[in-house]
């Protein structure tokens, strides 16, 4: 992370995370917004509605749909017609969009959608974990995870820039932890309209629904051609690896704020133990790293910003010399007893010469608090692995025996 807090101070305002996102969306000059309310995403769309009601987003239509399914469907139409298109949702809303998610990415429509991450039902639960977006990992969307309010705000502009690049043309989910980021008031620098105008060019796709140059979108592809469509999507994801880094660098040059490109690192250079995580938990882990470093424990943090595309090479480079790697996941693949970051990290190491033990912890599900002590205990478990090898690969954290 590279930031000059002293310099930023004079421009900071204290606002709710949702407001910061809405304000960032406004600065990005969208043409069509469509969304359906669901906690904890609601404040974002309410703020955007108010901006539109106050005439603060010119040339923008808000489509007040009857469901999330139609929200994203409307953006299929608007994006194909050449409009910069935005939505926000979470949990059940995102799950309802599942079929449309493939459609958006398959037609290469660079829609941007904020996910205020929340647990999925049943049992119904409105609090934060990341099961919702992780469950959509194979839908062909770029997935970025933000650490704090400032990052999710800035990531919004980066998302449009990455997705709309003519070499990429992929939809982007920007993920923020529900409540923890969406409902918390923090000092942030809101995106400056003029700077964003400089950073983010207008959306002018080469191909769109245009009667002057008629094209067919979403044709029927048989076994002769379907594979090649998928291949090209994968190729675009490969190109996005660099584009995500470039977008972060260019953002830094203009705005002076940087949170990492595909990943970010904290005290990893000489670390024996490296904790990997995504989202707001990264902040807690940094505190733990500071605390343990003061006691001489060689621990570091690898923050994953981009989950799709998965930054295999960047992760290799950081973890190759560690003695143990710990993946923390706010999600689980039921039946495998693993979270996604853990599975992916193990998979990236197989068939390489890097022989680092990886263990996983599923943590913070359904909004369960993640105190510093929990992370410290996890570090203790990691130390044991260095001494005696892996006994448990992946496990739930802080289970309440009395409820089982």
């Amino acid at each position: 992370m590279r930031r000059d807090y002293e310099k930023e101070k004079k421009d900071m305002v204290v606002v709710e995370g949702s407001y910061a996102v809405a304000s960032a969306v406004k600065a990005c000059r969208p043409n069509v917004i469509s969304a359906y309310p669901i906690t904890p995403q609601t404040h974002i769309v309410e703020e955007l509605s108010q901006f539109i009601a106050d005439g603060e987003i010119p040339n923008c239509e808000y489509v007040m749909v009857e469901s999330e399914f139609s929200a994203l469907s409307a953006l299929v139409g608007s994006s194909a017609a050449g409009a910069r298109s935005y939505s926000a949702t979470t949990s059940q809303g995102l799950e309802l969009m599942h079929e449309v998610l493939f459609n958006v990415s398959g037609m290469r429509l660079p829609v941007v959608m904020t996910i205020a991450n929340r647990a999925v039902s049943a049992p119904i639960n409105i609090w934060n974990d990341q099961q919702d977006s992780i469950s959509q990992r194979d839908t062909g969307w770029i997935q970025l995870y933000a650490e704090d309010t400032q990052e999710i705000s800035d990531m919004t502009a980066q998302a449009f820039k990455i997705g709309e690049d003519p070499d990429i043309l992929l939809p982007v989910m920007t993920c923020m932890d529900g409540f923890i980021l969406s409902h918390v008031y923090e000092p942030v620098v809101l995106l400056d309209d003029d700077l964003v105008a400089e950073y983010l060019p207008p959306f002018e796709p080469e191909l769109k629904l245009d009667p002057k140059n008629p094209k067919t979108f979403g044709a029927f592809a048989d076994p002769n051609s379907y594979t090649e469509f998928r291949y090209l999507q994968q190729q675009a994801m490969d190109k996005a690896l660099k584009k995500i880094e470039d977008a972060a660098d260019e953002f830094y040059d203009l705005f002076g704020r940087y949170y990492g490109g595909l990943i970010d690192t904290y005290e990893t250079d000489d670390a024996d133990i490296i904790l990997m995580a995504m989202g707001s938990i990264v902040g807690t882990i940094k505190d733990v790293v500071d605390k343990l470093r003061a006691k001489g424990v060689k621990v570091g943090l690898l923050k994953v910003r981009s989950f799709r595309p998965f930054p295999v090479e960047a992760i290799h480079n950081v973890i190759k010399d560690a003695k143990v790697v710990v993946a923390l996941d706010k999600n689980i693949s039921i039946g495998l007893n693993e979270g996604a970051l853990f599975t992916e990290t193990k998979a990236t190491l197989y068939n390489t010469k890097i022989d680092v033990p990886v263990i996983g912890f599923m943590i913070g599900q359904g909004g369960r608090d993640i105190p510093v002590e929990t992370i410290e205990n996890i570090v203790d478990e990691a130390k044991k692995v260095i001494d005696s090898g892996i006994t448990v690969e992946s496990q739930f954290t802080d289970l309440k025996e009395e409820l089982l």
Partner: protein, 291 residues
């Protein structure tokens, strides 16, 4: 009138969907954008890298074409391009009355300026003739087959035009591919009226209904001539124009020509069913003042 649906599509010979699409485009002209959901029409017109559509066209899913159309309309509005360009959503009966119902309802309630054309071939043809909410009483389909103890589909057609009129649509019309001029005029009217307008076109499917490929138009006309498919227009919820039928033909004339009603003439008790169908036609004569 130029046809903007290129020849050489992969529909069955005598395909009703192709005719309905062709007539709709004749009414719309070049300055339009069309959305079609999954179904026969989409599959037969867009085998990549070919396309029959000489206007901008987009397919997304089986259940959301009205929502996609909403987004296109919003985009045109936002970019100041609304006005000349017409937005048309064209969907099968399944995509309209069943799985797409919520999306159609939402788009009409929001009042988007577009025209929805339902191509009603009275079943899910693309997946092999399964029953839909538009399948008529006593028709045999692969999921409502006639059998030892069954006369096929036991429910009447869902009254979609009435539902759309109840949404406050300023213009709703029923059409038939048996009457191209009438259909083109009505689609044109629908496109010119501001707001969400609805055209429900009856479209006999040679494969699904079981009749000779040369008879599509004849069967379509018979549905109107027997008063089983009344042609009318509604403005702001009121019926304003009805196509009169001078000497209605008996429903048998229509039913006998189709395999899907064969059991009515071979199975014991079939005559009772035919009487019930005649009663539906008589009810239409009364209700719409067809004579």
């Amino acid at each position: 009138m130029k046809s903007l649906l290129a020849p050489g599509h992969r529909g069955c010979a005598g395909c009703c969907d192709a005719m309905a699409a062709k007539f709709t485009l004749m009414a719309a002209g070049e300055d339009c954008i069309v959305v079609s959901p999954t179904g026969c029409l989409e599959v037969m017109t867009t085998p990549y890298p070919e396309s029959s559509w000489e206007i901008p066209w987009i397919h997304s899913l089986f259940e959301n074409n009205a929502a996609v159309a909403s987004g296109i309309e919003a985009a045109l509005k936002a970019k100041g391009e609304m006005g000349k360009t017409k937005v048309i959503a064209m969907g099968g009966d399944g995509a309209t009355l069943d799985i797409g119902m919520r999306s159609v309802s939402g788009a009409f309630e929001r009042g988007h300026d577009f025209t929805f054309v339902c191509i009603d071939n009275e079943a899910y043809m693309n997946t092999g003739v399964q029953r839909s909410g538009a399948t008529p009483f006593a028709a045999s389909t692969t999921t409502s087959p006639a059998g030892e103890v069954s006369f096929g589909n036991i429910r009447p057609k869902k009254n979609m035009p009435a539902i759309m009129a109840a949404h406050g649509s300023p213009y709703v019309a029923t059409t038939s591919i048996g009457y191209p001029k009438d259909m083109i005029r009505k689609v044109k009217t629908a496109l010119d009226v501001e707001g969400p307008t609805y055209v429900h076109s009856h479209a006999p499917c040679t494969t699904g209904w079981g009749f000779d490929t040369s008879k599509t138009v004849e069967i379509a006309k018979l549905a109107v001539e027997t008063c089983l498919w009344p042609l009318y227009e509604m403005e702001d919820g009121e019926i304003t124009k009805v196509k009169k039928v001078k000497n209605p033909k008996p429903v048998e004339d229509y039913l006998k020509m189709q395999r899907r009603f064969k059991h009515l003439f071979t199975k014991e008790g079939g005559d009772e069913m035919v009487k019930k169908i005649q009663a539906l036609a008589d009810e239409n004569i009364e209700k719409f003042g067809l004579q």
